[in-house]
């Protein structure tokens, strides 16, 4: 620890930027991911890197971390030339990174996970070192626990402690708050401010503009691989930042409709046992979904979201409980029978669950639309009709693609999601269950998806939105309930609740179980 302390205080007194990038470029086949990017990060600064999906943020930080080699350009770190050929070199120089999709191993313990990223450490004594660092930053961690059993917030603490143990001069954080409760975000910000105060610079990647305005003093904005602007986010409004990011202004989702009385879907006493590793059991889930209503299910992924969606779609067998669609219990019905009756679902995993990656859009349309759209009368596929349906989705939901024959894999996350949500909406569902509808989707597409969901509800369907994004739920849903450790809280009308109240609900049930 003493070594770390000295370098931190030393770094705090140095002048000039810590990291300097000059005209870094990187091209992949068909895309110029980074185009002559120049920027610099000061000592002890919390610097934001802003941009939509595909703006080149990930490629840029991968170059700094030594995972990707730039085609041209140069970097200097702490005053000397810097060209890491592999992450080990970057770590040795003092760069640490917390990844967007956690780079943790679920079947290994906390100690083992941390050990893997420390180049010099051995197994003996690692647990004590972890406890020492964790305690000095007030981050609770139990080194012997299996990572697969940890919540998202705890997993992130593992990543952060892992980085801190490398005594970094620069800490890169890629979308760190997307899976945290508001309270966890606050405590993360506390840790980051303290680190910056001790001389560590932080490169903070996010598209959550409010957070950036709260945390960062500098921001560099990327669009299509180029630096388009830089600013002090504390002096800009979120709208201004968004415009810099996207290049145009983003439309908000439309107005909310009033709640109606007719109950479309009633779930009562639903329980499910999941024997998969790190699977979650659902216990006694109860809720009503009215016609024209959007019910938001908040909570952090891994608390039973996939299980709830699976139970409603008919993919997972439940151990007890009822699921009534128009008063008819459908819990023993097959997935197709539920679809036929109008209970449609759009799962979280786009490639591999919602869509078959190597099949064309037309074929993917067929996968979920056969029954309701009568795409295969008497078992024979009507390709003409199917293609027309796929074209309708593409046109109706502004899906940017080369055509109906394009493979699902070839679409960007946002476009594929618009296609998949469109595919369900055009089937005129009675009830639509969507899981993480805008996860990993750029801001414009996310707004389009939300607008489409609201329109569907206005037309009289009931929608269950399962999402980790609290802002999204506050924006579109009429009522919000929290799913935590397989239990669903009572629901609160969105107009009468706040981020804090829901955040507390999320944290409470989490504490109760751990």
């Amino acid at each position: 620890m003493s070594k770390a302390d000295t370098h931190r205080t030393d770094a705090g007194r140095q002048f000039g930027p810590l990291l300097c990038l000059q005209e870094l470029s990187k091209a992949y086949p068909g895309v110029q991911a980074c185009d002559q990017i120049s920027m610099s990060i000061d000592h002890s600064a919390i610097h934001a890197l802003l941009g939509e999906n595909g703006a080149g943020k990930s490629t840029l930080v991968k170059m700094i971390y030594g995972l990707v080699r730039p085609d041209s350009g140069s970097m200097s770190f702490n005053g000397s030339a810097f060209a890491p050929a592999q992450p080990r070199t970057a770590r040795a120089a003092g760069v640490a990174m917390v990844f967007q999709h956690f780079s943790l191993f679920e079947a290994l313990t906390v100690s083992e996970n941390i050990l893997l990223s420390l180049d010099d450490a051995q197994m003996a004594g690692i647990a004590e070192r972890i406890r020492g660092v964790a305690e000095s930053y007030h981050l609770l961690l139990e080194p012997g626990r299996m990572v697969g059993d940890l919540s998202a917030g705890e997993r992130q603490r593992v990543e952060i402690v892992r980085c801190l143990m490398q005594n970094p001069k620069l800490l890169i954080m890629d979308e760190p708050t997307s899976v945290l409760t508001p309270q966890e975000v606050d405590s993360l910000f506390g840790t980051l401010r303290r680190l910056a105060g001790e001389g560590t610079s932080i490169l903070y990647i996010s598209h959550k503009l409010e957070e950036i305005r709260e945390l960062c003093a500098d921001a560099t904005i990327l669009r299509q691989g180029k630096v388009v602007d830089s600013c002090d986010p504390r002096e800009c409004s979120a709208e201004q930042l968004a415009e810099m990011m996207v290049g145009t202004s983003i439309g908000r989702a439309g107005s909310k409709q009033k709640m109606r009385d007719r109950i479309l879907l009633r779930v009562a006493g639903l329980s499910l046992e999941n024997s998969a590793p790190f699977g979650v059991n659902l216990s006694d889930i109860n809720f009503d979904l009215h016609a024209g209503e959007i019910l938001g299910i908040a909570g952090i992924a891994g608390n039973g979201q996939d299980e709830l969606q699976g139970a409603l779609s008919g993919e997972l067998p439940v151990s007890s409980g009822q699921c009534q669609l128009h008063g008819e219990d459908v819990i023993t019905h097959s997935s197709s029978r539920r679809r036929k009756l109008g209970l449609l679902t759009a799962p979280e995993q786009r490639l591999g669950h919602a869509a078959s990656p190597d099949m064309s859009l037309t074929e993917n349309t067929l996968l979920s639309g056969t029954l309701r759209m009568k795409l295969a009368p008497r078992g024979i596929v009507d390709w003409k009709h199917t293609r027309r349906f796929a074209t309708d989705i593409i046109e109706g939901f502004d899906v940017r693609t080369s055509g109906t024959q394009a493979a699902a894999r070839s679409l960007s996350g946002g476009n594929l999601q618009k296609f998949l949500i469109g595919r369900e909406i055009l089937q005129k569902p009675e009830v639509l269950v969507v899981n993480q509808p805008t996860w990993g989707v750029d801001a414009n597409a996310a707004a389009a998806v939300r607008r489409a969901l609201i329109q569907l509800a206005d037309a009289g369907s009931g929608i269950l939105v399962i999402s980790q994004d609290l802002d999204e739920l506050l924006e579109i849903s009429d009522r919000i309930a929290v799913l935590s450790a397989g239990r669903l809280s009572r629901s609160l009308p969105t107009s009468e609740t706040s981020r804090t109240e829901i955040g507390l609900l999320m944290a409470e049930s989490q504490d109760a179980t751990s």
Binding site: Y28, K62, L104, E106, A107, A121, M123, S275, A276, P277
Partner: protein, 311 residues
């Protein structure tokens, strides 16, 4: 009961250990390969290549040691072929493994043609003064060949390596989540190739134990499914080295027992006796690995998935 009386418990236990050594060695090798996230169904082919290389080399040179080394190298080289195909050319692991088995069986027949009916030099056995002369224990524990002791030592070594060393942790990490391992900066491909070659060498060693000690002679197709049993052991042992040892002993034990029963002329059909080792081993291993979630937890999450750097 007379028939059973003719079976000597001393000889029985000693021969159980000999009978279980080939599948133990091959199973341990495959365990390491699978822990690195690779499914190599070519164990049978690797074993028989080891059997023929070891046999041929020890007959030609007259040295058992040279034979054992040849088996290790032969197995590792065929493993390398599998590794290049699956890791660099990204061929399907299941299909390539099956092809490796077929290729190994064919190549071994070709190499082995001149050696049919030849007697190999004998593998020396351990002799410790006093200890080897002890009744029962001396025969059971202190009178075997070095490879058998090596196989027991490897069981402990592999357990220790996987459980307690950093290199072993890296290997498990690669098998658990190759993308994360790559993003931290570990060499997924290199780790896997080394693991596959190690697995090949172990299978080769197991094979040559068959042709040099267990049988000892060369016949075509002499592995007779031992490689497949080794593969099954790995899965049913929930990827734990000590359980592989247990399973190997069980299989070896029932094999030897049923051979003895056949020889003693017990009134059970030969077909039933011959099938007994397979049935008993699988039933017992299924029972001890009945805890499904525990088994899935131990299974390498990336098993059989091709790895390529996407960006």
């Amino acid at each position: 009961m007379n028939e059973l009386g003719s079976i000597s418990p001393e000889l029985l236990v000693a021969s159980v250990m000999v009978a279980s050594t080939p599948i133990l060695l091959a199973g341990l090798g495959e365990l390491v390969v699978e822990k690195a996230g690779v499914l190599n169904l070519g164990v049978e082919g690797l074993m028989i290549i080891g059997a023929v290389c070891g046999f041929a080399m020890s007959v030609i040179t007259g040295s058992v040691l040279a034979g054992v080394l040849a088996a290790l190298v032969g197995g590792a080289l065929l493993g390398l072929v599998f590794a290049v195909l699956t890791q660099y050319l990204l061929s399907n692991q299941v299909a390539t493994g099956l092809a490796t088995t077929l290729f190994g069986l064919g190549l071994a027949s070709l190499i082995g043609k001149p050696f049919i009916g030849v007697r190999p030099p004998e593998m020396p056995r351990l002799r410790v003064e006093f200890l080897s002369d002890l009744p029962f224990i001396g025969h059971v524990l202190f009178s075997h060949d070095p490879v058998l002791y090596l196989s027991l030592g490897m069981t402990l070594l592999i357990w220790y390596f996987l459980r307690h060393t950093k290199k072993g942790l890296i290997l498990r990490a690669v098998g658990e989540n190759h993308d994360a391992a790559h993003s931290i900066g570990y060499k997924v491909r290199q780790t896997r190739i080394l693991a596959i070659m190690f697995g090949g060498a172990m299978a080769g060693l197991g094979g040559c134990y068959l042709s040099l000690v267990r049988v000892p002679q060369w016949t075509e197709g002499m592995t007779a499914g031992a490689g497949w049993i080794a593969l099954a052991l790995v899965v049913f042992s929930s990827w734990r080295p000590l359980r592989v040892l247990l399973g190997a002993w069980l299989f070896g034990g029932v094999t030897v027992l049923q051979l003895n029963l056949q020889a003693a002329g017990v009134g059970i059909g030969v077909a039933y006796l011959s099938v007994a080792p397979y049935v008993v081993t699988i039933i017992v291993l299924v029972l001890i690995s009945a805890n499904r979630s525990q088994r899935l937890l131990n299974a390498p999450a990336c098993l059989g998935r091709s790895y390529y750097i996407s960006s």
